[in-house]
Assembly symmetry: D2
Homo-oligomer: 390 residues x 4
Amino acid sequence: MAIEAGNGTGGYRRIRLGMVGGGQGAFIGAIHRIAARIDDQFELVAGALASDPDRAKASAKDLGIADDRAYGSFEEMARAEAARADGIEAVSIVTPNHMHGPVAKAFLEAGVHVICDKPLTSTVAEAGTGGAGQEDRQDLRRTHNYTGYPMVRQARAMVANGDLGEIRLVKVEYLQDWLTERVEATGQKQAAWRTDPSRSGVGGCIGDIGTHAYNLACFVTGLELDELLAQLSTFVEGRRLDDDVQILLKWKGGARGMLWASQVAVGNENGLTLRVYGSKGGLEWAQENPNQLWFTPYGRPRQLLTRGGAGASREASRVTRIPSGHPEGYLEGFATIYAEAARAIRAATAGEKPHPDVVFPTVEDGLAGVKLIDAAVKSSAANGVWVRMT
Amino acid sequence: MAIEAGNGTGGYRRIRLGMVGGGQGAFIGAIHRIAARIDDQFELVAGALASDPDRAKASAKDLGIADDRAYGSFEEMARAEAARADGIEAVSIVTPNHMHGPVAKAFLEAGVHVICDKPLTSTVAEAGTGGAGQEDRQDLRRTHNYTGYPMVRQARAMVANGDLGEIRLVKVEYLQDWLTERVEATGQKQAAWRTDPSRSGVGGCIGDIGTHAYNLACFVTGLELDELLAQLSTFVEGRRLDDDVQILLKWKGGARGMLWASQVAVGNENGLTLRVYGSKGGLEWAQENPNQLWFTPYGRPRQLLTRGGAGASREASRVTRIPSGHPEGYLEGFATIYAEAARAIRAATAGEKPHPDVVFPTVEDGLAGVKLIDAAVKSSAANGVWVRMT
Amino acid sequence: MAIEAGNGTGGYRRIRLGMVGGGQGAFIGAIHRIAARIDDQFELVAGALASDPDRAKASAKDLGIADDRAYGSFEEMARAEAARADGIEAVSIVTPNHMHGPVAKAFLEAGVHVICDKPLTSTVAEAGTGGAGQEDRQDLRRTHNYTGYPMVRQARAMVANGDLGEIRLVKVEYLQDWLTERVEATGQKQAAWRTDPSRSGVGGCIGDIGTHAYNLACFVTGLELDELLAQLSTFVEGRRLDDDVQILLKWKGGARGMLWASQVAVGNENGLTLRVYGSKGGLEWAQENPNQLWFTPYGRPRQLLTRGGAGASREASRVTRIPSGHPEGYLEGFATIYAEAARAIRAATAGEKPHPDVVFPTVEDGLAGVKLIDAAVKSSAANGVWVRMT
Amino acid sequence: MAIEAGNGTGGYRRIRLGMVGGGQGAFIGAIHRIAARIDDQFELVAGALASDPDRAKASAKDLGIADDRAYGSFEEMARAEAARADGIEAVSIVTPNHMHGPVAKAFLEAGVHVICDKPLTSTVAEAGTGGAGQEDRQDLRRTHNYTGYPMVRQARAMVANGDLGEIRLVKVEYLQDWLTERVEATGQKQAAWRTDPSRSGVGGCIGDIGTHAYNLACFVTGLELDELLAQLSTFVEGRRLDDDVQILLKWKGGARGMLWASQVAVGNENGLTLRVYGSKGGLEWAQENPNQLWFTPYGRPRQLLTRGGAGASREASRVTRIPSGHPEGYLEGFATIYAEAARAIRAATAGEKPHPDVVFPTVEDGLAGVKLIDAAVKSSAANGVWVRMT
């Protein structure tokens, strides 16, 4: 039931990893590092961890990175690592959104595989080129990490297998409450950059969590969005970006649905939920209890499927580490993104394609997210009109 | 903790009740009768229970109604009962939707109080006049029964009390799955009339359950809807009315929200849920577990309030019959509508106003439901445009 | 899906019912009255509702009982009603425990069917004779009301059908918290008599709710208890009876289990739960959410069965009033006990046996409860030894 | 909110770790390795991973361990590593139970810190000496890993803080179903050794999971057990050890309770739950949803506390890695045991005491588990008598 025999390297040499961003006080960098460690496929050996050089050095020391590989800038790091025989093979980009594009470009040009926190860039144009030539795009792994949960994999497999029949309704929600008050004005660092257009782009809630919700819906259903109609709101006075997003969805093939993302839904911590209903059955999944998946075949009793339990599919089992009833969580789901990236990187190094079971978010997913943001902003600015996702 | 001392008549004479519709094989009539019995304020003594005279007689016999008060038509019943010294004081109308208007008119003209299943009529015009003069309108009690649940009463009181601060988001869902397949073609009686425009009017799912959802949202929040934008769908081939409804809501005062009603959401039985979020706190309630109410004050732990338990408000307690932990259900919520109607009828008979605590759905609520249907149908027909609720 | 066509009398004359106990301020009497009304098989026409004559009269007036049938004592009522042509056919006994025996005896001797709140009497001897001759025993219906819940009926049917294989484990809990503090010293009437040995007998928590738990376990599994080992505790200083009971169970045939009842388990309102595990599957049911039943077949996904939903058995459906998703509650479960009693009384009147589907608690169940109390008290007094249930 | 700044080494050199047991096909070894990696405080550099030398070598290769530190026996490993300047500083013992004692003894004598899977040894005598001199005992860290969950830490802190008042009831359950059938006869390796007295000792279910349940109850409540009365059962024919355990508990100071552990409770995956009720409040926690903790203060609404959420205590927050709503799971709880061990090892190396906040299971906990097994087996063998835990 394990990702690799014994959850170790599986006999492989660890992939040499660098990191840009993620220094002291940052949030998502620490997550990426744990995720990279869990399945033991990577070794963190270099970093440009902060824009301030002193903080960059101190952060590297905290992480056990050698002094000579603690860089003051990503440009320097790309150059220096490319020149080393034991230079990094992959880099994790965990900076604020506006830096994703330039950093990715620098490392792709240096021949380094890129694993980049979502979203890719703030404009469709940049994302379209991935900050580099078309041929390099497959080197970019996005960390839409919620797709790493085993029961999300199972849901996707069940839809693909026809267990739900023809999909009719796709309902996705991502509810938080941490921006209920104007915390960005109190010096809260996470809130500050996420509500600042110069660092987050045109979308607030839609960019931060709306794209996660959308990615999850697409990943599970395999559907493509045809048109959307959005209502973006800013409830907190003085805030400069949206903090609530409500979108009507028309999917190609006739399915309908809604996406609701909010950062002011008081009482919700990280309420990402997906419900899919078809002509033969339904599925319901909630990120806060990720080891369960409700399956509701029409005319039969509701079934509670569990990670590792009876009814678990091959797609779920291959990314499962421990037995049923022992909950895996957010970090394990995230680790699966890294483990899948390791498989893809090793296959690429060997000049092969990864095994068909291997699934990870690509630059296409990043691009889709950017298109969602643009379309939603455009629809809402026009007071809610249908916008086609060309 | 009881509705009346000892849950009996409270020393009052029982109100003489008649019923139109609800004969053998009908569903909602039986519900009304149990609801009327639970708090012992009514005595069913007359009925025009079916359009077929033989079935009308047989149905009356089943219910212990005397032969001479088992009528073949509602017109005859209105005339005959008005002429009796011991004639009915109130009538319950539980016919298919298209008959609500004519029957109500007949009994109001006969001086009989009317309790009518929702919706009132199929057109705004009819509803506006209530089938009778303006002065009689308050005689019509609608049975938007979900407002009878104690924790719904509590939610309303908490919003009114400011416990949630300024309301920002109102999300209501009503999900069922009984129309997932084309059961109306198989002779299922309930499905047949509810999907037939000639008996149900222009709205299918929107009229059958969308209006319940809307009424619940309005009842709890006290908000008025300003504009809506709707997407009505018919997923089942051959069906003549909508079976899924998704609506964006703009409330007066700045709150936003969504209403989703579906009869093809596989795995949902009677999934009416309401979530309300304000600047200071949130509330979540689900009809299938009606004795609980989540209260989520910002920055404090989530609280699970229970009917009859710690934190229960006066508004909830006055419509509570039994101690906490002993679940009350759908029938008790419905019974509260009848008990409140009894209080209003007795007050009217005495030429008084009912006690300010007494709350029940009125013709205004019925009118609001009809307006919702009309606006939603209009918006959807125009492919989703904002329609103002004048 | 209904108990009788249309949930009315089904064409029968209503059974004339009297009540002893249940006057103003009492709790369980009001419950019995609502339960008797819900399915419309009874008409309350007489009562000796309180020991104080003035309160008895006032209570009768509240309930709409005619003045001449509002009695000052149960003895007078038994005599007077037996003498009337239209005298009561059945009586509900809802007094404190110590009066159950004498009242039952009086009415059985007067030829009146008896419906008696549990427990029957305080001693095995009295219960053994039922306060009357052996031949009359079947006339006593106990109101172990939790057996009226449809999903409890379904659980029983599934065990009998072998769906669980051979039963190995039976775990029943009944947790409340209303006696966490010494409320009996504050004038709380319910607490006062339930913690007073002169009115409740030798068992406190064991008698009040332990017997309900035991009855539920026996009802569902069909097993007979072989031996028990009990630990009764009194946690609240100054209390004179047990407020917590923990019992090890050995069932005939080899199953094992535990019964835990507590009135000091803070945070529990009316937490009656049953779990049964066999060689092939398991069942879990909780009274506070009574419309659901978990079925866990070995090696297959967990299934959530619902009242009226897919997988509902005939035994559940025949005592179901409304569709799935519309919760029935405690009062409906209680009403089923009355409806079943009505069927049994009508069969007895006709000199017939009731239909084999008809199930209701009898004096045997009452006797079993008394034996449980005696054995538990005896075991605990000996510091926890096995006591055989001869 | 992090264990160490940035969830890296915190500037420390990684502790050199060896492992005994845990080769290919083993379960718990992989868990230990992930747990050791998550917070990056250890580096796995040596191992005697299997009793078969070839499998030992192959297993080491899978894990990226250098060939010359892949040992064929634990004795050889202890000798060789003690002789190296860069020898291991700590060893994880993850063998079947019967080897825990000898292996621990060898490494303690070699001056290596020991982290040992529970239970320590099969006899009280061995455990008492820890396989070594009294003075070394504190070097043994047990991996009663469930105590690593943040909300378990919080529960312990709340009890210690008096939030529950005087503890009255402690109820712990650990329910599984994986031994419902005789899987040990089918070659299932885990089942084979766990049901074999020669490798597991005198206790089956009681030793495997009963000790975990007991440890959790003791850890949270801080109570000491005074007496127990046990009923061990073997439901599956041909099985040689108990597969179900039911124990009555008397705690010092007057609290009462029960422990139920089962491996034949069909439908339960890893159902470890704890309920504690005191004179002022209660707590409920379930391992399968470990990020939540119910707190039920008497007379106030139930509160749902969450890891990282409102109301989280310092004791929970210091072992929390990621924000509320992002579930941490079993592996993170286990990782906390390793992170706490690292802090203790570093303090010991520096000749200091660890910070008072640092909590981890010690040999005393291991000893307590062994005593539980012995007492339970003894009580059950005498058909259920009270046995004092001297």
